[in-house]
Amino acid sequence: MGREITIFQFRRWLLAYAARIIENESHLTELDTAIGDADHGVNMRRGMEKLQERLQEDAQTEDIGTFLRSVAMTLISAVGGAAGPLYGTFFLRAATSPTNGRSVDLIQLTQMFRYGLDGLQQRGKAQADDKTMIDTIQPAVEAMEAALAARQSAAVVLAAARQAAHLGMKHTIEIEAKKGRASYLGPHSIGHQDPGATSAYFLFETAAEALTTFNSSGNSSERAA
């Protein structure tokens, strides 16, 4: 099953995610300008700045469940809009999956993403092809499960997730929105990439980077570039 993924890596992952989102704020807002209310980048940046503050704190002693719950509460309180409760629910539910306290193995990691996806789907009631973040997250989690079943390494599993997430995100360009603000545009929403599907892609992109590079330290001076 390879090395376990520690809470330090989780922390690195979310720091990388926050940085990636902040870099892409205006891109996300542009996407939301075309088919929404022009705030997805603003919302996510607001949440990510709070997340960065949160991630400066006490990663030394927490277990993964507590850590993910606090990430969830940070997103819920700071992102706002639709994305806040959705990402928040993803992490809240991921936190309820089994861990080894301060680390997870690849099976547990995959299960964690599945728990998150199921929670997000219950919360938002969106299906695949509704043109939401589900179109990124669902194929990514399915790709993880398939790669895991094929007994691939963590690096391969997460690379598969990233690739499926990317395809899913791009697929949102072609489809009509059925959920969220973009649905008000009906067929006019076709031709535009969904902002939430895009911010969700970065979750898998940064996971593939941070969860597969191992290092044992987790002190707070360490920041993802």
Binding site: T29, T33, D37, A38, D39, V42, N43, R46, M73, I76, S77, A78, V79, G80, G81, A82, A83, G84, P85, L86, G88, T89, R123, G124, K178, K179, G180, R181, S183, Y184, L185, G186
Partner: protein, 327 residues
């Protein structure tokens, strides 16, 4: 367009402080998490009414806090629904043991944040319910219909019912009935501005947009040369078609500017609406014309009809004392 709201965080905080300073007898503001609460004392056991909304729709929701309407309102960032942390803080502050009702406009963000909050409150043993406001007939898929002017009306009906001692179940029922009796449609004219990112969408001088939302969501572009009665027909007919209407039906008419349309123009359209309704033998029993649900400085307005019965009319007429409504 320039806007001083460009830096949402601090500007909204200052604006909230300004509201409290200007209406110290009616509202008080709490920060971190942000919510606004009524000053008037409430009866123990009274159902508390709470509404959250993105900012930029003023007077909704804060202008509706006060006696006979909302017990608390939670303002989010511009056009972004407030967080469960805010909603839960408001619930803690206003619950009198009679339970709490959230009046929620049907947008993903509003709904999801309310649901999360309700789950949290239930875990603490507080009975919080929600009603969804979904009056916008311009959306073909009924489940996706947005909340427009009926949000203000629902807050008034719920507040009056709560003030006069209805139980939580009864408040939920009558508010749902008020919403079910309401239909709305928006029209955008000229400039639509989302000041946060400095983007302004300018329509040509001779076009309107039918079925616009209150967050800059575009509608269907039509030429304006069709004239006021034709535009009013395109707005009102879908409303009338969506609920069975019969001669002598009584309605509450709300014509709300989105912010950038002068009162003169709102009254011009109101006159044409009255004319059309009277041609259908529908009686305007109550009405409200002004800026009651805005979209920052956007040009345009929304029209809402709520079919009245005696109970709804009496709840509408019940005394109210808020920054925006007072009788």
């Amino acid at each position: 367009m320039h806007s001083f709201m460009n830096t949402p965080g601090s500007a909204i905080t200052q604006s909230l402080r300004g509201m409290a300073l200007c209406h110290p007898d009616i509202i008080q503001v709490h920060f971190d998490p942000d919510f606004v609460e009524r000053v008037a004392p409430t009866q123990a056991g009274k159902v508390a009414i709470v509404s959250g909304s993105g900012s930029g729709h003023e007077p909704l929701p804060i202008g509706y806090v006060g006696f006979g309407m909302l017990d608390a309102a939670c303002p989010g960032p511009i056009f972004t629904s407030p967080s469960p942390i805010q909603l839960l803080a408001a619930v803690h502050s206003v619950d009198q043991g009679g339970g709490v009702l959230f009046v929620v406009k049907n947008y993903s963000g509003g709904v999801l944040n309310a649901e999360l909050t309700i789950e949290m409150a239930l875990q603490e043993g507080i009975d919080v319910r929600s009603v969804l406001v979904n009056d916008d007939v311009s959306i073909p898929i009924v489940a996706n219909r947005r909340g427009l002017g009926a949000a203000a009306l629902a807050c008034k009906i719920a507040g009056a019912a709560a003030e006069s001692g209805y139980s939580l179940d009864a408040v939920v029922d009558v508010t749902r009935r008020a919403i079910a009796a309401s239909r709305s449609m928006g029209v955008g004219t000229n400039v639509n501005t989302l000041p946060r990112n400095g983007r302004g969408v300018n329509l040509a001088d001779d076009t309107i947009e039918l079925g616009v939302g209150i967050h800059g969501e575009p509608g269907e572009v039509r030429s304006v040369h069709q004239g006021v009665p034709e535009i009013v027909g395109m707005l009102i007919q879908p409303i009338l078609d969506d609920l069975p209407y019969a001669a002598d039906d009584r309605v509450l008419l709300l014509v709300s500017g989105m912010g950038g349309t002068p009162p003169l123009e709102l009254y011009l359209f109101s006159e044409a609406i009255h004319e059309l309704l009277s041609a259908h033998q529908i009686r305007v029993e109550r009405q409200l014309v002004g800026n009651y649900l805005t979209s920052l400085g956007r040009g345009g307005y929304t029209t809402t009809l709520m079919k009245l019965d005696n109970e709804l009319r009496d709840l509408w007429d019940a005394p109210v004392h808020t920054p925006a409504l007072h009788w």
